[in-house]
Symmetry: C2
Subunit: 429 residues, 2 copies
């Protein structure tokens, strides 16, 4: 950029004060920033206006104009990746976790999973029917719902099948492939409890069935306790109306529970006495156990974490300092602790939890790390506020066995390992 | 949608239990949802599969396919609005606060303000020079910066001139026009302190000047205390790389301080002994006082709130229940309290703070309200954790007078009033 500036690598960098107490990882390391050669350095006095006006400018012409609705830089290309499916309209698109910062998933990159494609719905024609064991069956338009008291909460949504192939022993080469059916956004809507209070529950009411208006009419039963707790009928996501593939204009958000109960394009909810045993909860989305029986209604996504950087197919660009960073989440509440191992689980060090650890939301963790150039096996292990500790794959298999259910393995939350090779390449194990 | 269903307005709705303790506002009200006529209602047993399979489906065909990078529904049109400017390349585009939910501003709708348009910068060619009163002048590439320990924090950014016309007595007709130079996103980057530690501060260091790489080379001085506190050199926004109009690929984020010190497209920072008195802080961005002198370096954006719904040019669709909702933020820390008046400030009721009130971040507040059909003057008033209470316009004018500075009034944070007319139309006052 600035011609003539000879730049010299600095060997000393990363002073310990910068690194928030993770001292074990912090010897002076070879690092990337470069010192400006003394001959090129303009020695500035206390405050020399002329020096600031020195010819450092990149742009010399006016830039582009304003835009009513912005787009990302043409230099950026992160995108969702498609899984394969032999059923028309059925499939998933995974979030590129390796390319993301912080905790909020941009709506454009939130994972997709649907059974009959993405319907185009006119919000002015969309209505929600609430019937069954209620005193007053009701129909709500979008306009109606937006007049009710609203709440906004950051929550993860995770597909039950996320990282199921890890269970199977066919791990994903990248974190997008292995864990990309997990995203985290701010949802806005009406508490389902508010609508149930309007309708008035009959005595026999115990469950509620929600049904989507796409061609597959995916339907799931929820126990009423959960429906009256924190379930949202959501119309907003990250400040905007929901995106089409997230259920526009209306989606059930069931915090902490498997993705497929977060019914998209929802247009009917019926209060019932028993679970409905719909196709999507009797045939699919069950967990086959070693004795040949299947667990039904395993709703909660248990505590889980994964390192997103460095992760599979990334390359460490020389020895020295790196930040190990990733996401942790729990369907039972807040993440309390994340530990990181660089030696395949022999020793563990507490990571820093970066953002406010919100309940049933993804939390960013990080740990400074100096790579000496040898092999390393990176793992993360989280603990949630209930004290539950993320298990190993071996521990999970000892309970659940190795026989996949009708749609593969669901609810795998084992520890993921990324292997750093001598040459800096990172691969799955 | 569902033909033949006669729908009857319900007069009873909004039960008190739904409304989180704001009982004064909660008599049984006329509301929008409609009861399904008994003749049309399919009386369902406790759990009848056939009933669920009744012909309610909207979509009967497969929907659209997956997309690598999603877009919003074709039915949604919220957009930034452009202010006028006679200087080429200079101008602003305001966030449509009236159309947004929750607290996160989608990056596509984050307000813009620039002096020479939006430069197109190749991130691989962009470097940050850190020099001046440091032991080791350094140049950082993007790749370098991304190896440093990162932090992710949700912060508002507000233009100093936001709502300046309220001060002047020319209030905005909509909340987008009056307060749309305020947005709130998650920023990810390196603490500036980390970089200063790398470079090593010389004894005389007291200030730091940051300069943008756009054609205007907007430059601002920051006291070192702030630089060493919570200032970020940010490369991420809402999970993605920064958007071009937000400073791609690198922006200074100075939490809680006026927008223009959050230098976009930053490519140089120089440590100095004194403030630089750049054009952008000596001629512009000062506050003219009644005695003809100007206040310099009025960095902090004081506590402020505004009702976004109902707001100017919206129309209340008949008497009954509404939610009054808006945003509050403070450059000094967390929002502790928001009060709402519907009678032009005579009486006040505490609003509910919806999301976790994060420091120097926008917080959503809301209050259930029953509109009886008469005139109402809606106001919000916030208090931050320092005990500072948002003032009235009159209080501000008594101190600052009515003479605009070179670029109008900056730092206006007075209470905003929306007037509800008998016919339900909402206008500014």
């Amino acid at each position: 950029m600035r011609s003539g500036a000879e730049k010299v690598c600095i060997l000393s960098l990363i002073s310990s004060s910068a690194l928030d107490g993770a001292l074990c990882y912090m010897p002076k390391s070879k690092f990337q920033p470069r010192r400006i050669d003394r001959r090129e350095f303009i020695a500035l006095g206390a405050a020399g206006i002329s020096a600031l006006a020195a010819p450092l400018a990149v742009a010399r012409e006016l830039g582009d104009g304003r835009r009513p609705y912005g787009e990302r830089s043409p230099f950026e290309h992160a995108m969702r990746s498609f899984g394969t499916s032999s059923t028309p309209g059925s499939g998933s698109a995974r979030t590129p976790l390796q390319d993301l910062w912080g905790t909020i998933t941009p709506s454009s990159l939130h994972f997709e999973r649907h059974h009959s494609g993405v319907p185009t719905i006119d919000p002015n024609a969309h209505e929600l029917l609430l019937d069954g064991l209620v005193e007053r069956p009701l129909v709500f338009t979008l306009k109606d719902l937006r007049r009710f008291p609203s709440v906004s909460r950051i929550h993860f949504v995770e597909c039950a099948g996320n990282s199921g192939r890890e269970h199977e022993g066919r791990p994903g080469e990248t974190v997008q492939k292995s864990h990309g059916l997990l995203s985290n956004t701010e949802w806005t809507g009406v508490l389902l409890k508010t609508l149930l209070d309007e309708a008035g529950l009959k005595r026999a009411a115990r469950w509620i069935v929600a049904e989507g208006s796409d061609a597959s009419r995916l339907s799931r039963s929820l126990p009423l306790d959960k429906a009256l707790d924190d379930v949202l009928v959501a119309y907003g996501q990250n400040g905007e109306p929901l995106r089409p593939e997230q259920g526009y204009p209306l989606r059930l958000i069931v915090p902490g529970w498997e993705g497929n109960v977060n019914i998209k394009w929802v247009d009917r909810m019926m209060v019932t006495h028993e679970a409905f045993m719909t196709r999507d909860e009797a045939a699919s989305y069950t967990d086959l156990m070693p004795d040949g029986k299947a667990r039904w209604f395993t709703f909660v996504m248990e505590a889980k974490s994964v390192i997103t950087r460095p992760s599979g197919e990334q390359v460490l660009d020389g020895r020295g300092f790196y930040e190990i960073s990733g996401l942790a989440w729990s369907g039972r509440g807040r993440i309390k602790r994340v530990e990181i191992s660089t030696d395949n689980g022999k020793t563990w060090t507490d990571a820093r939890l970066d953002s406010a650890a919100l309940p049933k939301a993804a939390t960013r963790f990080s740990l400074p790390w100096k790579w000496e150039g040898g092999e390393a096996a990176l793992q993360s292990r989280c603990t949630d506020e209930t004290g539950y500790v993320q298990p190993t794959r071996e521990q999970l298999i000892s309970v659940r066995g190795l026989h996949p259910g009708p749609d593969g393995f669901n609810h795998f939350n084992g520890i993921k390992t990324w292997f750093v090779h001598n040459d800096g390449k990172v691969s799955h194990v």
